[in-house]
Amino acid sequence: MQTTSGPVHPGWPARLHVVTGKGGTGKTTVAAALALALAAGGHRTLLVEVEGRQGIAQLFGTDPLPYQERRIAETGDGGQVLALAVDPEQALLEYLDRFYKLGAAGRVLRRLGAIDFATTIAPGMRDVLLTGKIKEATTRTEAGRRVYRAVVLDAPPAGRIGRFLNVTAETARLAKVGPIKTQSEGVAALLRSPMTQVHLVTLLEEMPVQETVDTLAELGELRLPIGRIIVNAAQPPLLAAGPTRSALRAGLAAAGLPAGREVVAGLHAEAREHLAREQRQARLREELAELGHPIVELPLLAGGADRAGLGTLAAALG
């Protein structure tokens, strides 16, 4: 294992990478690929999820993740990705234990439902706990060295990300003094520092792009540091123009394929529809480029997001 205290990856300078995007854009897959990319070269990274979906375990085909950092993948060159599913209840008990030595009282709290209350009902509290745990992992050192080169968060979707990351605002309304306020201020400082970047995953489709635009505006207002726009499942352009029927007929004949009217009409229609889509995607690419943030495109994985596919995406990111 190489030192993890050296400089961070030149293309991905942050220590904490928050990966969000509209539902269905593949942010879990992208987060996992980024964790792999940043582990390449013999480093150690941590991939975190916070919504209890067990998306990481499903992606890697393992048993559900416990509240414990476990190795989930390795790179060919000695790098390791560890994974953690942060559970708010466990995070609260850990927090109480660390700061208040509340072993037995913690159990009483749980039995009375106070933990359930604090983690699911008290607004903002849950997010302070989740982000607090992420901060702890991001800044953790052992013998003066960082434990993780980078932490990648498979974050809540774009529609909730602003609220999730804006921890101080949510808790300030409720807790004007006290440890919760201190904790949330510490988290907020990390999230607004150059140690953090928020990346937005999108597809070249209208609604995800619109949501990317809206989310960037929201994150900007909250002064959260924006990293890259990651266009997932991009396909290289295949067509310069729609082929004519006669060109199709000639080509099919030359290839020794049936060139009947139905085949020609079918391929013609498919090509035209595809061309229209490529033109729409070109417009969406321009729209994204105008936002002024670096963009990286990831290829569509024909074989799905298996381990080999994740390697392909990691290579495209790194």
């Binding site: 539902g23 269905g24 854009t25 593949g26 209890g52 979906r53 998306g55 109480l96 208040y100 009282a105 009483v108 709290l109 009375l112 439902g113 106070a114 209350f117 604090a118 699911t120 009902i121 607004p123 903002g124 979707p157 529609g159 609220r163 949510e170 309304r173 409720l174 807790a175 004007k176 003094v177 006290g178 440890p179 919760i180 306020k181 489709e205 209208e206 609604m207 995800p208 295949l238 067509l239 310069a240 123009a241 082929p243 004519t244 060109a247 199709l248 000639a250 080509g251 030359a254 290839a255 394929l257 085949v263 009409a265 079918g266 391929l267 498919e270 090509a271 595809h274 729409r280 799905g304």
Partner: protein, 383 residues
């Protein structure tokens, strides 16, 4: 999937016995669009007085339904069709719905106290379960009050894009449990606590416990919380009853659940999870609507053959070669999607299933919704 049970969603929309259609599923699969298309079809093709309750629709879709402001009231949508049907649409305003519930349960002065409490303000606007609870609350209201003195023929509900499939079914009960909560009352006013054994159990560790709570939450937060619970005290019981009633309405045979998914790994996984839950909870699951399914116009030409042919003729016939590559990519996608949908149909062979073809452009006008509505009938079996 010819061997699988076909879902006729259109027949459900036409059935006068069906009064509520719930569209549920993961985020990003076209749930809101499906809900709007169902409602429009019921109004235009089946002459029903329909209302669609949407949660956070995409802006252009909302505009196409005439929803420009969040006013928590059904608005008539200008539609075609002369069968006597009407389409009304509304967007859920979570906070306002919560305020209405409070007003309905308490006197005006108490209501004002509650509204002023920071705890209430935070919870009514941000608690992750509030949206789910209020969607169900609004459904209950729509069902009870109707419109212009008449009951709705059909209420179509979109569900919130939850953290997980569980939230939609669980959050109302969880929120009700909290508002109804014995724990909170014990916590805030142990002397008033009912249930002697609970109290005795608590006294042993209560000193440590309350000190811990004070330290972690802070005294000011506890004071606000105490005020909130005091103010809500008169309403305890009401919330739970309402949540239970709504739950029963959902289980009723007048209700039809349409599970919405897209042929992608995450969405199918969520759909399987959702189907399992709905079956376990005995919710009337009518079937799966699989959105954005691709088709090829030339099914007899496999991807590999098309790709190989493209390579052979690339130099002499570049245009045709490009078209063959497009075809190969499309067929690969079709095959991938079939594999995805099989993951659902194999796990739930008894759940009927319907494919809605991918639309050439994003749907954000009534014509687009009509096209989807027309696809809600299963394709006629090939002769």
């Amino acid at each position: 999937m010819p061997s699988h049970l076909a879902l006729d969603a259109d027949a459900i929309l036409a059935d006068p016995g069906v009064r509520i259609v719930v569209c549920c599923g993961a985020g990003g699969v076209g749930k809101t669009t499906t809900a709007a298309a169902c409602a429009l079809r019921a109004a235009e093709e089946h002459g029903r007085r329909t209302v669609v309750l949407t949660i956070d629709p995409a802006r252009r879709l909302a505009q196409s339904l005439g929803l420009t402001e969040l006013d928590n009231q059904p608005r008539l949508v200008k539609t075609d069709g002369d069968g006597g049907g009407e389409l009304h649409a509304m967007m859920l305003d979570m906070k306002r719905t919560f305020d209405e519930v409070v007003e309905a349960h308490t006197d005006p002065q108490r209501a004002q106290e509650i509204f002023a409490n920071p705890f209430y303000q935070a919870m009514s606007a941000t608690f992750s379960g509030t949206q789910e609870y209020m969607a169900m609350e609004k459904l209950g209201q729509l069902r009870a009050t109707g419109h212009a003195g008449l009951e709705w023929d059909l209420i179509v509900v979109d569900t919130p894009p939850s953290r997980s499939a569980l939230d939609f079914l669980d959050a109302p009960a969880r929120l009700a449990r909290f508002l109804d909560g014995r724990m909170l009352r014990l916590l805030l006013a142990p002397a008033r606590a009912g249930g002697r054994s609970m109290f005795q159990f608590m006294t042993a560790s209560f000193g440590m416990f309350s000190k811990a709570v004070q330290r972690v939450l802070g005294a000011q937060l506890l004071r606000d919380l105490s005020g909130f619970v005091e103010a809500l005290d008169s309403m305890f019981g009401g919330f739970r009853q309402r949540a239970e009633r709504t739950y029963q309405v959902l289980q009723d045979e007048q209700t039809a659940f349409l599970l919405v998914a897209a042929p992608e790994a995450d969405a199918i996984r969520e759909a399987r999870y959702f189907a399992k839950r709905l079956v376990e909870e005995r919710m009337p699951l009518s079937g799966l609507v699989l959105n954005r399914v691709h088709h090829t116009a030339v099914p007899d030409l496999p991807a590999a053959d098309s790709q190989a042919a493209a390579d052979r003729i690339a130099a002499a016939h570049p245009e045709a070669a490009a078209a063959l590559r497009v075809h190969a990519t499309l067929v690969q996608q079709v095959v991938r999607e079939q594999r995805m949908s099989a993951r659902f149909t194999r796990a739930f062979p008894a759940v009927p299933y319907l494919e809605v073809p991918a639309q050439p452009t994003d749907v954000h006008d009534l014509d687009g919704l009509r096209a989807i509505g027309a696809a809600l009938r299963p394709a006629p079996a090939p002769a």
